[in-house]
Amino acid sequence: MSLSRREFLQMLAAASAAGMNLAACKQKSAGTSAGGPYEVPPFGNVSFLHFTDCHAQLLPVYFREPNINIGVGEALGKPPHRVGDALLQEFNIKPNTLEAHAYTYLNFEEAARQYGKVGGFAHLATLVNNLRGQRPGRTLLLDGGDTWQGSATALWTKGQDMVDACKLLGVDIMTGHWEFTYGAERVQEIIEKDLEGHIEFLAQNVVDNTFEDPIFKAYTIRELGGVPVAIIGQAFPYTPIANPRYMIPEWSFGIRDQRLQETVNQARSKGAQVVVVLSHNGMDVDLKMAGRVSGIDVILGGHTHDGMPAPTVVTNPGGKTLVINSGSNGKFLSVLDLDVKGGKVADYRYKLLPVFSNLIEPDAKMTAYIDTARAPYKTKLEEPLAVTESLLYRRGNFNGSFDQLIVDALIERKEADIAFSPGFRWGTTLLPGDAITMERVMDQTAITYGTTTLTEMTGEQIKNVLEDIADNLFNADPYYQMGGDMVRVGGLHYTIDPNAEIGKRLSDLALHGKPLDANKTYRVAGWASVREQPPGTQIWDLVADYLRDKKTVQVKEINTPKIKGMGENPGVAAV
């Protein structure tokens, strides 16, 4: 069942009348095309709109939230490490509602058919324009980065389609992560040729790796509703480790919280009454950083793709900091209203708006822009490769079903024993019966270093690699994490104890029921190596060929490891 916008609004009204958790939709704004649940009454005198990690999705998509998002150490059971019912309980959201569908994987297929797709820049534009219109002269639109990467057209235009879309959307300030995978020169070219006078690209934590001179402007001060407000950029701290260093050979990143403290102090001394950090740290790092650095009112964060319905309030020596993370894939828009009185933030209102495309009239200008941008690639994008009989998704700490297809394809095409696919958190969702087009394959694979590889590795080397990556995900100290999910694995089964130390998390490694031999050599296929590779088949071509041959695909079993020592961890739900 899919609903028209009108049917959908009627249904929402009925749901609201029935006492469901949709109080906001009782009001319908006059003279705006996005009414109902999108009515957010302005509060205070300073406002921020924030989206992050849209991963270049210009059109509406499906995006399933994870059913495994384990928190270890101090993060155990705390947002964002709650999934499904545990998340709904934490934030007092009723099951089987629009909001429950937005924030969780629960009942995904049926709910997705009912509520429709999410995101899309034309829909986002309508929302942004309405909210801004209600908050004139006091609102900034902030983009947390991972904006220029994640789609076919973004890759083929080296980010240009997204740069132009963001200018049209009216983004004021951005920071970055995957942006850097186009290389230092391309980033600087875009900043100088396209962003100048439109969008400020800020990052306090990127410096020249010889003399530690800043590469980007660290912060900016803007006057909103008569209040001087500082925005500081924080790029993804581990870009040269998680992504190819050769793309940005002269730049050094890191969290650099001492430098951040100095920047906050400087902004305050120049009269900023509000300090906001636009962060691509990932939420766990944001939470730790908020406890160590004083003087920040709000961290608007991204990277780990956590869409949190309410801020986490962190206490530090200087007071309190709100930590907000705004999800991914264009699925959410954060609306933060601050009441600034007597030179400081006195109160706030916050709403994370899920962007349900059926509910919002798309903006005509943005629709026309997207059509034009896609036109040269339309045939290639829309080529149907196969039909899926299964729900295909990626997000979660371990293999998603689309990853399973990728590792299966790698093993078959490379005649490998084992396949690895990176634990990226982007990648859209397909419903059973959907055609897998080239565009949907690119949603999972569109990177500047997508060459496939085949490597001979011993059992011992394989275990060490897995241990290394598991530590980047499950180290109890967020500053030692990297913000991706566990590498996706094909062929190999294992048991994992996330609470153990590095070197001791994995056990029972087995291939086709036989224990992995530490001294034996195995053929391991993969892609997205962070080291420079000789020319070879790109992952999207390999997967596309595989799908064309199969015509119909079904993922019978997802290779999820046996997870040990988690007890009743609210970050794990069986499906």
């Binding site: 962003l195 990176p422 190596s529």
Partner: protein, 157 residues
Amino acid sequence: MNTMKRRTFLKGTLAGGVVAVAAASGLLRPAEALAAGWPKNAFTAKGMQDALKDLFGTSATTASKAIKITAPIQAENGAVVPITASTTLPNVEAIAVVVEKNPSPLAASLDIQGAAGYFRTKMKMGQTSPVHVVVKSGGKLYSAKQEIKVTTGGCGG
């Protein structure tokens, strides 16, 4: 909103009064280093305790909060990991940097006379390891440490 390409300042990497610097991280070639009186045994010692004993005659150190280490938490490139050591301890005579899990743990050693306790260098790290900064002050050894992670990378976000 131009990107900042200009070098805004160059911080002095060494205060005045340095007598000798030797670093195993390749700053000096062995021949040059030997000419400068390289403490060969300390730099080739296979364990941290031996290296410190060879360098200072003892490996007993007292943990000190007066020593500050500025180094990445995760190394971007294990071959060249930047580290800055500074201390407010009085009468600093020497500063040493020790990478506990390197095959030859002593990475750098600096003798100082009458200078501020500040030292910046780059070191090579083969694997994740605690990195110790040992300061000789008033004839005694003080130390601080930080874990620096070396990872094969990939897979981020």
